[in-house]
Structures are given as C-alpha cells and as structure tokens.
Symmetry: C2
Subunit: 388 residues, 2 copies
Amino acid sequence: MIKCVKCGQVEGIMKAGYVRGKQRFLCKPCNYYFTIQEKDVSTAVQQKRKRHQTTIIDIARTLGVSNSTVSRALHGHADISPDTRQAVLDTAALLDYQPNQLAYNLVKSRTNTIGMIVPEFHNPFFPNVIIGAHEVLTRAGYNLTIMQSNESYQVEISNTKAMLANRVDGLLISLTQETNNFDHLSVFEKRGIPLILFNRVCEEIDVPKVVVNDFESAFMAVEHLILNGYERIAHLGGPLTLLVSQERLRGYKAAMQKHGKTIESHMVIQGMLTQQKARIYGQYLLDLAERPDAIFAVNDSAAIEIMLIAKEKGIAIPDELGVVGFSDNPESAYIGPGLTTIRQPTLEMGQSTAEWILQLVDAEELNLHERKVLNTELIVRGSSMRKS
Amino acid sequence: MIKCVKCGQVEGIMKAGYVRGKQRFLCKPCNYYFTIQEKDVSTAVQQKRKRHQTTIIDIARTLGVSNSTVSRALHGHADISPDTRQAVLDTAALLDYQPNQLAYNLVKSRTNTIGMIVPEFHNPFFPNVIIGAHEVLTRAGYNLTIMQSNESYQVEISNTKAMLANRVDGLLISLTQETNNFDHLSVFEKRGIPLILFNRVCEEIDVPKVVVNDFESAFMAVEHLILNGYERIAHLGGPLTLLVSQERLRGYKAAMQKHGKTIESHMVIQGMLTQQKARIYGQYLLDLAERPDAIFAVNDSAAIEIMLIAKEKGIAIPDELGVVGFSDNPESAYIGPGLTTIRQPTLEMGQSTAEWILQLVDAEELNLHERKVLNTELIVRGSSMRKS
DNA sequence: AACGTATTCGCAAACGTTCCCGATAGTTTT
DNA sequence: AAAACTATCGGGAACGTTTGCGAATACGTT
C-alpha cells in the first residue's frame, strides 16, 4: 500500500518517473508528487506471485536444440527427425509444458475464439442458441466467449470493443432493443472480422443474418386461431424497435386481413413485455367491455401471464379465450391447458450460425451478404382448441 | 491449393524446409518430398487477408514520440503532459486505434478472463449459474469463457488444458459424473491459478467449494412428505458417483430414520436419470405390488416424468401418490398439480462463486480452502399436499 | 553560479511463439 | 566428380504491449 505523504490517501496514487533509486508517485486527489525509497516500495507494492511457466525455450535449453526445433517438433513439422521429436515430446511432458496460447495468438494474430453477444439470458431462447453454437465451435477447435449486453446499447458498444480488443476471429451478435446505430458493427467490416447477426437483426447494415420466419410464423399462429373459430383476436406484441416484433405484427395483420377480420387498433398493443407490463396489458384487454376472444402474444411468458389472468377472472380457456404464444418455453407444455405456441429451432439457429461464421473466418472475401431463414413449427395444444 | 506431384492429393501436405527460392513440401499420405517454385506457392497458398491494425507504434510515429509515451498517455500515467496526452488521444481516435489485448496479456501474463466448465447446458441450472457469475465478472471488468464437458471426463481434461493454454486468471468448474481422478485440477494449484469447484464438487482435493446444502434439503423434502402423512416413500436418486446424489440419499435416509420409517431397499434407485431411465424406473416403482405412496426424486424432470406416468396409470396425485422434486425448474410451477420441489439459489451460486474467484485472483496466497454452503428453499405445491 | 527538484520523455528489454531463409551434412543422380 | 536432392537443424525477426531505469530539460533556491 502506497500512501500519499500529504493527504494520506491510498487510492489514486500513480507512478510518476524515477530518480536515483527512488520511485516517484503522484497523488491524484491532492495533486502532490512524492518519492519513496525503492526498497520500501518493493515491500509495499504487492509482488504478484508469478510462478515460472515452462516454455519452449526451457525445453530447447535442456535438450540443447533451438526453439525453432522445439516448436516444429511440437507441431509435427516434417523437418524434424523422429528421434528429436520424441525427445522434445518427452521433455515437454517431463517439464509439464503447457503451450502459451497468448503468444501463439499474438504472432498469428488469430485467437481461435468466436465471440457472441446476446441481449439477455433469462428466457431459455439464448441459452439454447448458445448450446448449439458451442457444440459446433468446440468440435471445430474454437472457443466461445459470451457477453451479455443486458438490452443496453451502451453495454453493447463496450462489448464489441472488448471483442475487438480480444481479437476474436468472428462475432455473433443479437442486437439490443435499443440499438439503432450500427457504427460499432461496421468497424468489424473495416477490420475484416466476420460478423453475423442472428435473431435480433437489423436491415441497416449489410452482413449475414440468421433469423426465423417471424412473419410466416405469426401468420400461421393467427390463422390457426381463426380456423378454430376465433373472431376478435388481439395481439400483445413486443417493442417495435425490434424487427422480430414488426414481422410478427405484420404476420398478425396479414392473417387477419386474409380472412376478412377487422383489426381493432386498441387491441393491438406493443411494448417491452416484462411480467408486470404483460399483466397490465393483459388485464386491460380482458377488462374491455367487448373483450377479445383470442390473444396472440409475442412470447410465451406473456401468453402464460394472460392465461393466469384469465383464470383469476374466471374466463375459460380455450372456450371463452384462445391463447397462442411464441417460443415454446418448457413450461408451456405443462400448464393446463397446454399453451399453443410457435417452436423456434434454437439449437439449429446456434449451429448454423456457428457453421457459417467458421466458413467466413476461413473465407477469402466476406461478401456473402445473405440471409438464412429457419422454419418454425406450430405446436397446437389445448389453449387454442375450442371445443365448439 | 498445393498438390502432391506424385499422388495428386491436397490433404496432408506439410511444409518441409526451403531451398534456393523453392518451397519444399512433404506429402504425408504417400511420404513423398517435392519442391515448388516460390512464386507459384505464393499464389497457391491462400494469402490470409490481413488488414493492418493501427498499433501504438503507428500513433508514436505520426506524433514523433516514443511508444512508451503513447502507452503511458493511453493509460493516464502521471508522467505525461496534458498536451501530449491529448495529442495521443486525438490521433488514437483519428487512426481508429484499438488496443491489442493479446499483446497486453502476453506481457502481463494475465488475461482478465475467468474460465468456467460445466457438464451440460440442458437443464436450466447451469445457465442460471452462468447468468449470476457473468454479471459479477462483467462488472469487475472480467470476461467469462465457458466450456462444456458434456459429462465426459476426457472432454473435461481437454477443457482444462485449453483453459491453461489460454491462461485464464481463474477457473470455475462443476465436475463430470465420470470424474474420479483429479490430476488435471491439481495442475492449477501448481501453477498458482485459483480454482473453485461448485455444485458438482469432490472431497479428494483441497480447494474452495460452493455447494447447496443437499443433505438438509433432501431431509427437508422427505420430512415434508412424512409430515403430510405419506408412509412408504421411495427415492429416485442420481448416480452415486456424484456427491450431490450421495448427500441427497443421505438426507432421505436420515429423514426416514428420524421418523421411524423403514427404508425398503428396492424402493431406492440410483442412476443417471435420462428421460427414458426415469420412465423405466418410475414404471417399475408404480407397478410394484405394494407400491410407494410417495416418491422423492433427485431432480424435477424425473419427478415430472413420475407424474406423467401416474396420470397414465390413473394414480391420483397427491392423494394416492405424493411427489417431490429438486431444482424448481420453470415447468414445475405450471404442471397440474404443481410440483413440490427444492429451489436452489442458482443465481446466488454463480454470483458468490464469481466474487470468490475474484478475491482469489488478487490474493497473495490461495490457501483459503473453505467451503461455502448456500441454503435452499422448499417450495410446497400441490403434488405433496394430500387432502386428508 | 551551483545545486536540488519537477516535469516530461525515450531506450530497450522483456512476454513466448512462429516461421522465413538459410546452412550443413549425407545421398543420389548425371 | 560435379550437381542435385534429402533430411535436419538454427538464427533471428516479428507480433504489440508494458515498464524499469534512466536522461534531458526547466525552474527555483540558496
């Protein structure tokens, strides 16, 4: 602990020069310079414990060969005779050598690491995508570094900077709902680092994207409700800053229009659906004088909240109210009645995104600005099956 | 693409020496050496696109100062005058400088990265632990690299090696159910890299551990069943290679003994409970001539499987059969009747493990071989509430 | 004028690898 | 016997930072 000789503080002390065996410091708070005898410093500044890690050079020295030889032997280079290779391998095992990936990364300017930024972890969607991506990347010998933007644009920016600083070989990102500027992403293109958007994508920048067919899925869900005899269908949607919300809204509208249903604007609500918000909106909808006879929710947790409210109010599901969600959370299968929903291929999304980024990492040019659309599945359960 | 001039293959071609403007190669498959004119090689070997990243040196050159000055200016070292610092910052922004963390890591031999190895991702337990740890680490300026051992001892070993190679500053690990040798972990102690076991721990090595009170939790669960009038309670347990399974079994037995219930050995089943296994064991238990009137399962998915089997067989829950699970998966709240279970503080486990490792990373000595035990909570729902 | 101190910068050695360009024998081929 | 080739190894630069140890001024103070 270095203490300022004037104010006595220990925080905010900075190194500042050196003079004849004395370390000089600057106390930032009181802006005062002072010197300390070096021997005192060495005891005051905590010595970081730093065991010696055996390196390639150690092996080279004990064997009396050059480090190039050791390096090549360890990598199975053709130039090395079987005898020396074996000797190197033996002493490496003997000295308990572990390669230093950091040095390797520095010289190759390649990390064998793919970065992934997701907005949140709380609903099971992103963990599942991670499982899929993780599996593919691990098999290919890559590591996966995960960061969480926590739905904050600022955090997303700092995340991307950290990814750049750590020199990931590629980045998979699902955008924040706040994100409407994309300069922090175009940096990757300038640097030649492949970038793939998945799930939460945007149209503004021209990079590979992996999404599900949100429009068709919503269309399918709403049409399913209509075909089961529901007439006045409300939509509890997500924030319109998200393309997925826009698409699902579009699908809802298209299905309604196709079947000649009028869309009542006060029954289409968009917003960030926390549990409380979902409850408020749901109560609003179910308290309406002419309440809807079905609700298509943008995700399962909102749909389940609707079901709970309906139960409290004594509204029978599915006879008096049909409900369809989106995502097929695990609980949706077990709630009674089961929640009809759209199953998204989360694992597949992770896998195909990962496979794609691996291609791009090794690609010459990364101008394959395509878009991969994965198909969903309508899971029909009790919540939308009117007995009629 | 380099082709072997003998066998024509392109796979398995290795660099081998160099001679007068010619690159030499070895075709591994047919073990044949051959040379190629260097200019042909340069077109044949795909040039890795490699944009120049602006470095500290670039800034130094454009400003006519030394790189030490630039480095210090970027870090706010006290030695640098405000003018030059500003100049450095300006040109850094102008040249779009991004620090190279790899070089930093190499020279500091510190990565600001914590590694985490989990056996699986499929049940929500580990993702939740990750959320907690991630939050704490991010706030402290650390990155989190996650690997998955997939319940395989061999994969766990290769994961730990990769963690070592990548020089993580600390490791959080939850063991595989196969793991019964711990040499791959003692390496970390030799290297002075802090290591914490969580959830899936072992007694054989002396490192910090974070667990829940499995014994007390199981005791609590079984006692709850007994107090609700259940008599013949079966236990569907996990593999006994896992300490958690042992502890929960011990808790089950202790509760039974305390209340003078006889433990019928054929009603205590241990094993790796995949869905199929759970179904097989569950059917066995419920087909018994004198079947149990309650089952304490080691996890919720097994408990839910039991409930489904009971429904198929027309066994009423909770009147004819009480069921208690472990973990409080999301679906457990929504199944009918609700599943009584033990809620584990997953987020807290992640948080406290992360906080602990951060302390250890900066600690002088890491001999605080303690054990942190987190408390669980019995969530009582319908599946164990006999109406009687 | 001499000297002590403040302030600001630079040199160069690490950190641990990879890999280009040879070098040096021994072995064939012409 | 010269030339070409095979088989193994080494020297040393490069990757981009940090930082110990000063040096070189500028400014006061006796």
